[in-house]
Symmetry: C2
């Protein structure tokens, strides 16, 4: 995030450079009185869930054998250690929400084009943005702070200088609810990867809390819809013209192409490099998925959706695969907040999956990772999601739910 | 525009087919009580300003030697003859506004993603949409009717089924103004093509009317900014992977590739067919233009902009070149309304350009077309434009201006 007179990079030496001026989002924060004192670590190419770069590797403060996540893993770890009161990340697949979830802090990915993202990353950007909307968003120790952040931006009316932005005043936590109980859908699994035991436990905890609420909340089941297809399409769209430039960039500095970088580009590398028509086809496929999800959401009849923020606890280093639970809502461009729960992963061997077969090869791999690892102390978060552009309604709902969900 | 049990096409025989159901926009209108009784003519590939297709050629009801425009030329002509009370068109370069201007009726191109456009044209659509936002919009005999139309759509809350749409309630003509006089910028020329004499006269008429208004209006000059570049980039973006399919589609039916089709694709054919990266570059170029125009608009300090709707009166058949004055606002995705004036082109030879050299080769061509033609009786409209997403503010301003601008 370009800050005047400071270095910016995409997690590679070759991309590092000092920028002269603040980008517009930083300018808004500076004008509002923000004090910048630290930039934090991120992954190679800011495109996976392990913040290991030429700066070194960020460890999870709750269990140093685990990753702090990425791309905003440095920020999440610092927040968890109370070394920072507030952070800003960017999110095109989970880069705010996954590290927040791994470190047990709050994170929010707004609908795209709510916050100014101009001059964000160094370089020319990527056609990924034409299919998978990216956005910046807040990371913090409380919902209240994220609400303040969003309000500061809306008060600056950034849409006057940036016609890409929606004209969207912020009412946030004060957003009035409609009549009747808040309808909360629980998607316990995405249908592709069953959550690891502590995540299942956190989801059960949240459901129990809300079921015990007075008449103001109606808890419903929410069925997943084609999430595997969506996240695979997103992974292809992230690198729609291949990764030759990425490999060349690393070759220039002599840095290794990390294993998780290999993982993140594998679907794109296995797909033909699209033409203009191919890129448009990716966009049309996404559009149809939006329509299908709009109908699906209407049929489920909920106001907000609660689901895992990740299939598991923070993964061990170099094993952070499968961003399905977050990337789904980038592909859908739905606002999504990550909230800590009181649930923490227990000592190795004390928690087991429920009976039943794995849902997929990925699910089986996630189980194996659980059996092999030791996640003791890893905090577990949940994710709360609203339909596209319903960012204010999401925060209004969170205010209503905060008494039951341990929300600060 | 797909209407249940009726044929739809893009102005070519090969594309014609009968659709089973209403598209969402038609469904909204039908639910609101609309009576559909007529579909109207459009150009080959709906991409130029002359509605000549396999159905025949639509003539301008004010002077049959002139075109009724396109792509919604059939609708504009029918409205002008009072054969219809209301019409709907689509606009990615001027297809609502140019025919409205040529026939002397009202037309409005909203910001994109305000009106539902799903299932609009037959076929797969075009990557043009990834760079140049298209939209549907109303055509009518009064501003009041267009306001009603927009209100009917907002009341249907189409964003619930279509997540692509902005959540945008309609206040339209009742939109409250801010304090102080309405600041109206006059862009008398786009800097590329000087308006033909009756258009210059209509602009002078409008400026004089508003200068004579009481304190509620402040008239200012508005300088053009790189309009030639914008409209050339738009023309390339319309056909980002060439026109081979278009030529093949005509070859299948034996229809000729019209001269104006040749004109509309010439810039795209002269440009290399872009890759995914090339398409993204087109999009980035547009994005930078948006930023530059936002700064330019702020520096000019106006609420709305008044400019020609076309460089001239309705052109003679087969000479409808240069959509610059409308396409600029597609490329900028700004809402723009076309309003009739009392000005009508005089008999041949009675009106001349002011002294001065042509601004460009295109300007010189426009002058030659004026000298060669006879435009007697052609009505002249003006265009009023607001910043992106300021559709309500545009209508609020038009309500304030209506006493001075002959608006029904």
């Amino acid at each position: 995030m370009p800050l005047a007179q400071h270095a910016v990079d995409v997690g590679t030496l070759d991309s590092q450079r000092v920028v002269q001026g603040d980008c517009p989002a930083v300018a808004v924060l500076r004008a509002a009185g923000a004090v910048f004192y630290c930039k934090t670590n991120q992954p190679q190419f800011v495109m996976h869930l392990e913040s290991a770069s030429f700066h070194g590797r960020t460890l999870n403060p709750h269990n140093t054998a685990l990753t702090a996540g990425g791309s905003s893993g440095g920020e999440a770890a610092l927040l968890a250690m109370r070394g920072s009161v507030f952070g800003v990340g960017s999110d095109i697949g989970g880069s705010i929400r996954a590290p927040a979830a791994f470190c047990g802090v709050y994170g929010f990915k707004p609908t795209s084009n709510v916050l100014p993202r101009r001059d964000g990353l160094p370089g020319a950007g990527s056609p990924a943005e034409m299919t998978v909307p990216a956005t910046w968003g807040p990371m913090s120790r409380s919902l209240r702070d994220m609400d303040l952040f969003m309000g500061v931006f809306a008060a600056a009316r950034p849409w006057r200088e940036d016609p890409r932005l929606s004209i969207a005043p912020w009412t946030g936590l004060t957003t009035a609810a409609g009549g009747g109980p808040l309808k909360v859908g629980f998607m316990m699994t995405d249908g592709a990867i069953q959550p690891q035991p502590p995540v299942a436990r956190a989801m059960e905890w949240a459901r129990t809390q809300l079921q015990g609420a007075a008449g103001g909340v109606e808890v419903k089941a929410f069925a997943p819809l084609r999430t595997q297809e969506a996240t695979r399409n997103a992974r292809i769209a992230y690198f729609p013209y291949g990764v030759d430039e990425m490999r060349a960039s690393l070759a220039a500095s002599g840095e290794p192409f990390q294993a998780l970088s290999d993982y993140s580009v594998q679907d794109a590398e296995a797909s033909p490099t699209p033409t203009a028509q191919g890129l448009f086809a990716l966009s049309r496929t996404k559009e149809q998925f939006w329509y299908d999800w709009a109908a699906h959401w209407a049929a489920q009849d909920v106001d907000v959706l609660v689901c895992p923020a990740f299939y598991g606890a923070a993964p061990r280093h170099e094993t952070a695969f499968y961003w399905n639970y977050t990337a789904l809502f980038n592909y859908l461009d739905m606002p999504a907040a990550v909230l800590p729960t009181p649930v923490v992963a227990g000592p190795k061997g004390t928690e087991r999956y429920a009976e039943g077969e794995p849902l997929s090869d990925e699910c089986e791999h996630a189980r194996r990772l659980w059996d092999e690892g030791d996640f003791e102390g890893a905090p577990i978060c949940i994710q709360v999601v609203a339909p596209r552009q319903r960012d204010n309604e999401l925060f209004g709902a969170l205010e209503r739910l905060s008494n039951y969900l341990n929300v600060e």
